[in-house]
Structure formats: structure tokens, C-alpha cells
Amino acid sequence: MNVNFLISLVFLIQFQAFCQKEKGSDPIVFEIKNAGITVEGTISDWEYEISFDPKRLDESSIKGVAYPVSMDTGIKLRDKHLQGRQYFHVDKFPEILITSKKITTKGKGSYMGVFDLTIKEVKKEIEIPFMLTSKGNTKKLIGDFTINRLDYGIGESSIVLGDEVKVKVNINF
């Protein structure tokens, strides 16, 4: 199926350090092509922990855990199948983990993070550009990335289902 994980992290922060651990408010959105049609799904249950100081990026970190049992593609039976052993196998692998390893600035609220993404015990390093902004007391992190679902053993090669999954993350805190 469709594993689309889009983590779009936008951090707009003004030069203040903060540390926060929360449940994700907006669902993680993923997109995948199926028979030429873009199918969108969400994972609504997830948490993040952010420790961020734009002046000390080497000491900053972003972690997230998502629970694919909360997946919703609009078709219940499809969700159940995606949660089964041939896709996410949520009974055995209930969590998807993402952990930053290195964050560098790209200028004015724009960053590049190197993350370890772990799905079904397959850990791979990925790069995610993200924005971190702040407006009043509200901060916002937006980022997105694309993975190949086959790299993580999510389903099998298919003539109708795409391999690439786009994942978008939007955090307001």
C-alpha cells in the first residue's frame, strides 16, 4: 500500500531556545499513487519531542513517534490491510520512529535535518528540509520528505501502486 510519510517540519523560531513534548495536533499526511490516482491518508496518533536552540543546533534535537494503527485512508478495509503484516504489521511494529542526528541552518528559519527513520525495524538515514517559524506564542514546524516504501518492507512491488510515498508533517505548538 501506500506508505506516505510526509514530515514537514516548519520551525519558525526567533532565536529562543525551547523544549517541548506533545501529541501531534494535525495528522501526519501521506500520499501515494495508486493506478494513476494520488491517494491521501493520515496518521492521527503521533507524538513529538523538540529541543531546539537556533544558536546551538548541535545540541538541538527533534524526535517523533507515529502509531500506524491510527491510519486512515478513507476506506476502512484498506486501512486494516495496511495495518496487517504485509504492510505496517502494527501488531509487531506498532511504532514509526524518527530521530534527528544533525541539524544545520539554511538561513532565516530554514533548516536541513539528517534523521534516522525507523519503520518495521528498518532504520535508514534521510535528509529533511524544514522550516521553523514563530508568530507570537505559536511556533510552527513544516517539513516533508519522500521515501521508497519497499526500502522498509512495506508491501511488495506492484504494477499499480507506486513505490514512493510523500510524507508531510505540520506541527503547531
Binding site: 476506506i75 499499480v160 501502486l161
Partner: protein
């Protein structure tokens, strides 16, 4: 010499004279006699596989949903000791009102004519042609289902609503002439269940058939005055599965003759309670057009289909050899293992002889050669819209183009997939929630249903594995999920209403989208 060279050319598949100078003259010029050349050609001709080997039969079929009672077929030695079938010329069966004058008397004047000599089969085309002959050839002349008295009785046609061709031919059985004056009604050809009389009266061989077989059998038992014990006995032979949870067929037998006959009559055209299946959970008659591309055979995916040998095994087994299977210690015709292997012949329809491997090969080749008729439902703006809906609704995941099946097995509700099955079979590990009776409570049940192909929906029906819905429109009608629904296809004999649950996709589409989706489905 002329005959030998002709035979040689055929064996070498050389039909055009232009190849003579290239292949044949040099050999003859080189002093090779036609006999020698024919011998060489024999060595390169089609090799017929031996299909019923102990090793192959061991794991060709999937286990029963209750694995202790998985089928144990007869041994290779037993199988190859059975005599090979002889194929006599057959003649059409007419409705009495349409039978040509003097036809019956004429039939009785005919001599037996053996019409298949497998030693003459050389090319693939030869085998396909022979396969077509065998496809229509009845393996029973003992009246396994119906007999002469039934088909010569007008009531038979009226009470079964029997489809006929425009000539008044009932195409599901044939007259077999086994000698002068020996005219027998032939039953149990492949064509019996896999021939469809289309609306215009034409015949579509290999399609989901519309032989009202269970109604016909009920008529036969009733008109013959079968006793309650007799009706119970044959029904047990056909469907008995005392090892199934709740023993539903045992309960049916206990309900008495009238209830059993009602159960037969409840099975609609397009479904058939073949041996080992059920009239309580009757399977839709499978569409064989395109079966070459299926990875599993039977609605429950009982037989793996990895190569032509598997298809040959399936044909051999399903042409009644499964009556000799043991399910644990249970055998449906009451055999003990000692009696089975005593060396004495067993006279039960379809079990005292067998197809030769060459005949099975021919049948398989014919079935593989079946192609669909031209679809009158061409692509349109509406069907193109339906094509997009088909993708949006996720239908493509299971009904994946171009075969419109992903060729996988889905578990039925209540079946727990054994761990090793994930490596051995093609599993789509989600139930779509359709009725589980067929695959959980019959001798052929595996716990799975195979994902059906949607190709040819326009000429098929009724739909779903149990033929419970007569029309595609019914499939998308949420009313079918209610307990007060009257199924438009198969409805069990002992209920007035029944929800048809499962495969609950596309139910929330609006009317226009449903129309478009159905237009697309009918264009496949």
C-alpha cells in the same frame, strides 16, 4: 511412402511445401527412411507430463480449513491402474417438442464410433481440438444426475427453467451411443457446468454456465420417487462433511427429504453444488475463460495452478476422483481404506476410469485456449468516469489490471492464517467479510477465497462466490446488508430474507457514480 511422409511433416509441424527442400528432401536424399525420421520426430514431439504422482499430489492442494481433514487422494499406483476413458461419438439432446422426427429411432440405429485416437495427436492445435471434444464429453452414462427418462419428459424443462438453444437443444448433456441400440444419456462433462446459453441463444463455452443442475437433480429424485433415505444418502455422498464445525450438512440430512429437495431447488442457475461443495453454500459456477492466468483454482483456491500439470491434476480430480479422497478417516461414498485398496473396482460415477494424461493435456490446452467473445459494451464517457472511480475506490488493489485480480487468496472470517502459508501461498491477509460457509464448512474449503477476476462480468452472473446477487447493481446497494433483504441470487431454502454481507465497497457512491462504475465493470 506418401502416408509416412505426410505423417512426418505433421510431426515436424511442417505444412507448407516450401519447407520440403529445406528439411525433408535432404534427409530422404541422405538415405534416411521415413520410419527413422518419424522416430526422430516422435522424440521431439510434445511431451505429455505424468500428473498423478505421489510426490506431486502431496502438496498440490491447499489444506482444508480444518487441516486434520485435508484431502488424501488415491495413490499414483491406484490411479494409473484405472482404465483410460474411451471417447464415443455423442449426439445432441433435444427438448421433446423440438426433436427432429425419427431422431430417437435413428439414434438407436447408430453404431458406436470411437472419435478420439490420441496416438494421432501431434501438434498443439491437435490437442486443442481434442480438448474441445473432451470438454463436451460426458464421463458418466449411469445417470449420475439425470437420465433418459428425465430429458424426454417435457416437465423436466418446465420445472427447471432449462435454457435451450434456438434449435431446442439442451446443451448440458449429450446422447452417447456405445453400440447399436445402446443410447445413454451422458452426464458430467466439463461443458455441463461451464457452458452458458446467452440471451440470443448462442452458446458460450467455458463461461460461467447456466445449467440449473441442482433443480434438475431435485426433479430427477422427485420424479423417480426417491425415498427419504435415498435422498439423504446421495446428498451425504455429494456434500457430507461431518468434520465441519456444526456439521451443517448433517443437519440438512436430518431435516428430511422435502427440506433437502428444497435446498437443491434453491440453488440458482449460475451456481452448482458440485461434489465436495454444498447446496447450503453453493459455489458460483466458475468462468473458465481466462483461467490460464489464474494462480489458484476453485473458489476457495483449493488447487494451486503453477503450470499446466496443475491444471491437468485439477481436471482429473474434479472429474469425480475426489469421491475416492479420504478426509481423515472419512470417505464420502463410505469406503474404508482397505476396500479402496482391495484391488476390486469401485463402481461409482467417474471413479472407475480416468482420463489418460494425453487427454488431460488436451483438455488443459483447450481450456487455456478459451477466449472471450467481443464485448458489446465499448468504452464510453460514462465508463471512463467509472474507470477513475474504480481507481479512487481502491478496487485496483485486489482487482488489479490487466487481469483484474491480484491472484491472491483472502482469508474468510474466522480463519486464522497459519504462519507457513505466507511463504507457501499468495496471501492477501484481509477478509472482505463475505459468507464463510463454503470455505469453512465443506470438503473443499481452505479457509480462503480467491480474489476473482472481473474480466467478462458483462456475460456473467449471478455474482459473489455464492451467487447471492443477480446483478452488479445489487452489489453496490446498501440495502443488501440488512437482515430483511431478499437476495436476488442464491437464497437459502429455509429463510425468507437474508443479509448479503461483505465486500462492502462503493456502497456510498452517489447514483451517477455507481452507474459509471458499473458501466466500466461491464466494459471489461
Amino acid at each position: 511412402m506418401k502416408f509416412k511422409t505426410d505423417q512426418l511433416l505433421k510431426k515436424l509441424r511442417i505444412s507448407s511445401f516450401i519447407y520440403w527442400p529445406i528439411f525433408v528432401f535432404p534427409l530422404l536424399w541422405g538415405g534416411k527412411l521415413p520410419d527413422q525420421i518419424v522416430g526422430w520426430a516422435d522424440e521431439i514431439k510434445i511431451q505429455i507430463p505424468k500428473v498423478w504422482t505421489d510426490e506431486a499430489m502431496e502438496d498440490w492442494e491447499l489444506p482444508n480449513s480444518n487441516p486434520e481433514f485435508s484431502a488424501k487422494p488415491v495413490s499414483e499406483e491406484f490411479y494409473y491402474n484405472l482404465p483410460e476413458r474411451v471417447v464415443y461419438k455423442t449426439y445432441p439432446v433435444y427438448h421433446p417438442d423440438h426433436e427432429p422426427e425419427g431422431y430417437w429411432e435413428w439414434l438407436h440405429q447408430q453404431e458406436a464410433e470411437i472419435v478420439l485416437d490420441q496416438s494421432t495427436l501431434v501438434t498443439e492445435e491437435d490437442y486443442i481440438k481434442a480438448g474441445e471434444l473432451l470438454f463436451g464429453y460426458p464421463i458418466d452414462t449411469l445417470g449420475a444426475l439425470i437420465n433418459t427418462q428425465h430429458v424426454r419428459n417435457k416437465d423436466f424443462y418446465a420445472k427447471t427453467n432449462m435454457p435451450l438453444t434456438p434449435e431446442g437443444i439442451m446443451p448440458f448433456a449429450q446422447w452417447v451411443v456405445a453400440g447399436k441400440g445402446k443410447v445413454y444419456l451422458g452426464n458430467l462433462s466439463c461443458a455441463m457446468c461451464h457452458t452458458r446459453v446467452m440471451d440470443d441463444g448462442s452458446l458460450l463455452k467455458g463461461a460461467q454456465g447456466n445449467w440449473p443442475g441442482d433443480k434438475a437433480f431435485a426433479f430427477a429424485m422427485e420424479s423417480d420417487g426417491a425415498s427419504e433415505r435415498g435422498v439423504q444418502g446421495i446428498t451425504n455422498i455429494l456434500f457430507g462433511s461431518p468434520f465441519a464445525e456444526g456439521d451443517p450438512h448433517g443437519k440438512l440430512l436430518a431435516s428430511g427429504k422435502e427440506a433437502i429437495l428444497a435446498a437443491y431447488r434453491a440453488v440458482p442457475e449460475g451456481a452448482f453444488g458440485r461434489q465436495g461443495t454444498s447446496i447450503l453454500f453453493p459455489p458460483q459456477a466458475p468462468n473458465l475463460i481466462g483461467v490460464k492466468d489464474r494462480k489458484y483454482l476453485d473458489h476457495g483456491g483449493l488447487g494451486q495452478h503453477r503450470n499446466i500439470e496443475d491444471m491437468m491434476r485439477y481436471i482429473a480430480m474434479n472429474q469425480a476422483l475426489d469421491f475416492l479422497n479420504f478426509y481423515g478417516d472419512y470417505n464420502s461414498i463410505g469406503l474404508t481404506k482397505e476396500r479402496l485398496n482391495s484391488g476390486e473396482p469401485i463402481f461409482f460415477p467417474g471413479t472407475y476410469d480416468r482420463h489418460s494424461d494425453a487427454q488431460l493435456y488436451a483438455l488443459a490446452k483447450y481450456v487455456y485456449s478459451l477466449s472471450p467473445p467481443i464485448n458489446p459494451n465499448q468504452a464510453s464517457q460514462l465508463s471512463e468516469k467509472g474507470k477513475i472511480i474504480f481507481a479512487e475506490q481502491g478496487c485496483v488493489t485486489c482487482h488489479t489490471p490487466p487481469l483484474f485480480t491480484n491472484n491472491k487468496l483472502t482469508p474468510a472470517d474466522g480463519f486464522e492464517i497459519p504462519e507457513d502459508h505466507y511463504d507457501r501461498y499468495d496471501i492477501f491477509d484481509i477478509s472482505v467479510g463475505t459468507d464463510h460457509g463454503y470455505t469453512m464448512k465443506t470438503r473443499r474449503g481452505t479457509g480462503y477465497y480467491k480474489v476473482p477476476s472481473l474480466l467478462g462480468l458483462w456475460y456473467r452472473g449471478p455474482f459473489l462466490h455464492d451467487a447471492s446477487l443477480a446483478n452488479l447493481e445489487d452489489l453496490f446497494n446498501p440495502v443488501r446488508l440488512e437482515d430483511d433483504y431478499v437476495p436476488t441470487g442464491f437464497k437459502p431454502h429455509d429463510v425468507k430474507t437474508k443479509a448479503v454481507k461483505g465486500h462492502e465497497f462503493g456502497m456510498e457512491l452517489d447514483a451517477e457514480d455507481k452507474k459509471a462504475l458499473i458501466a466500466y465493470l461491464k466494459s471489461l
